[in-house]
Amino acid sequence: MKDWPLYEIFIRSKAGLHHRHVGSLHAADDEMAIENARDVYCRRMEGVSIWAIKSSQIIANDPDEGEELFEPAENKIYRHPTFYDLPDVLKHM
């Protein structure tokens, strides 16, 4: 098992919803990753679709630089609908 890669598992719980990260597992190959994900994360019909990807393939931002990364969005309140003043009489907008 030492050289079995770690896979991250994503499950779509029903048609129309996003795949959601549920956890991870080790598998010898891609096929086994899907089969194990079925047994580990879908014993009670929790899913209709499984995505598995090797954890090493995931590219993530550095959490220590999270603040700078997201900073550009922080002061742009004009991107939100509530920024705009409209009279109360106006309905459905």
Binding site: M1, L6, A28, D29, V40, R43, R44, D64
Partner: protein
């Protein structure tokens, strides 16, 4: 630097912001979690053994599929927890090694033998019941992957407790021999179940730090008291007595008083001298070794497949 990081970390915890794998965390927080989550994972895995003992002897198919499904769930719980633990930077093989060499502990309850069929019910009722009491607050644990794994676990535990209680309820309406078997089983499991909550608060030196880090939300004694209060009524419905002459309602406290736990027994089992400690570890090691050829075959197959693929691409 370190001090200010630690302060920022504590502020996050105080504001109920979850800690995620790549976030900075104090080394002691990481170590504490690795110890706790791996112990928890090992408990799920070793916890399959006492019940596995009865699968082939279940009295009918309905009970057999339920027991099989429960034991399979416990394997799943172990896997959720191992993978949560690995996010803290420790390898699965190392964790399993720690279990097999006795370096890591697991819940002492699984070092008691399952002598009768009634034990399958009592384990569901009391052992899974105590586990649920411990696990529900862990769904709000400060470490994200652990908390999320616990949500999944808790969803499944409810079936474990209910199938056990239903089994006992059936025995309680059975022949005098069945009723006797039920009572005898409860007598044996009651005290070990209370020990599952760990030492008294006064003897639990790590509790304060774990509470400050929101790994733990309630103390051992708080959870144990809740468990006792809950069980008294459930025992009445089964028509069994709980083996504690000191158990009685305390109007003033609004809780049941109960007798002193035999801590010598508790520590004795923790130290490896319980009735089944050696047997459990030997069984685990043997299962792991006997599974070596399966792991080897899977690796060989994966290698062959990927070679085939690269040939056809070329």
């Amino acid at each position: 630097m370190e001090a200010s990081m630690e302060q920022k970390f504590q502020e996050k915890i105080d504001n109920d912001i979850r800690i995620e794998p790549k976030d900075w965390m104090p080394e002691k927080y990481r170590k504490t979690l690795i110890r706790q989550i791996s112990q928890h994972a090992h408990s799920e895995i070793v916890g399959m053994l006492p019940e596995g003992n009865w699968i082939t002897r279940a009295p009918n198919l309905r009970r057999k599929v339920a027991l099989l499904a429960k034991v399979q769930d416990e394997a799943g719980h172990g896997l959720y927890l191992y993978s949560a633990c690995e996010t803290l930077g420790i390898e699965r093989t190392e964790l399993i090694d720690q279990l097999h060499t006795g370096k890591a502990k697991y819940s002492s309850i699984f070092n008691y033998p399952t002598l009768t069929w009634a034990d399958m019910g009592t384990i569901g009722w009391l052992v899974d019941g105590a586990a649920i009491m411990n696990q529900v607050p862990l769904c709000r644990c400060s470490y994200g992957p652990y908390a999320r794994a616990m949500v999944r676990v808790c969803k499944e535990e409810s079936f474990h407790q209910r199938q056990g209680y239903e089994l006992l309820l059936t025995l309680s309406k059975g022949t005098p021999e069945q009723k006797e078997m039920l009572q005898e089983s409860v007598n044996r499991w009651w005290w070990p179940a209370l020990m599952m909550f760990g030492p008294n608060d006064a003897d639990s030196p790590h509790t304060a730090q774990s509470m400050a880090w929101k790994i733990k939300r309630f103390t051992n004694d708080e959870l144990r008291q809740r468990f006792v209060d809950m069980c008294v009524e459930q025992a009445e419905i089964l028509g069994v007595s709980l083996p504690d002459p000191d158990l009685k309602w305390n109007e003033e406290r609004g809780h049941y008083d109960f007798g002193e736990i035999n801590w010598d027994e508790f520590w004795n089992v923790v130290r490896g001298n319980g009735p089944c400690n050696k047997d459990r570890i030997n069984t685990r090691v043997k299962a792991h070794e006997n599974g070596q050829w399966v792991r080897d075959a899977a690796s060989a197959y994966a290698k062959k497949q990927s070679e085939k693929k690269s040939v056809s691409v070329a």
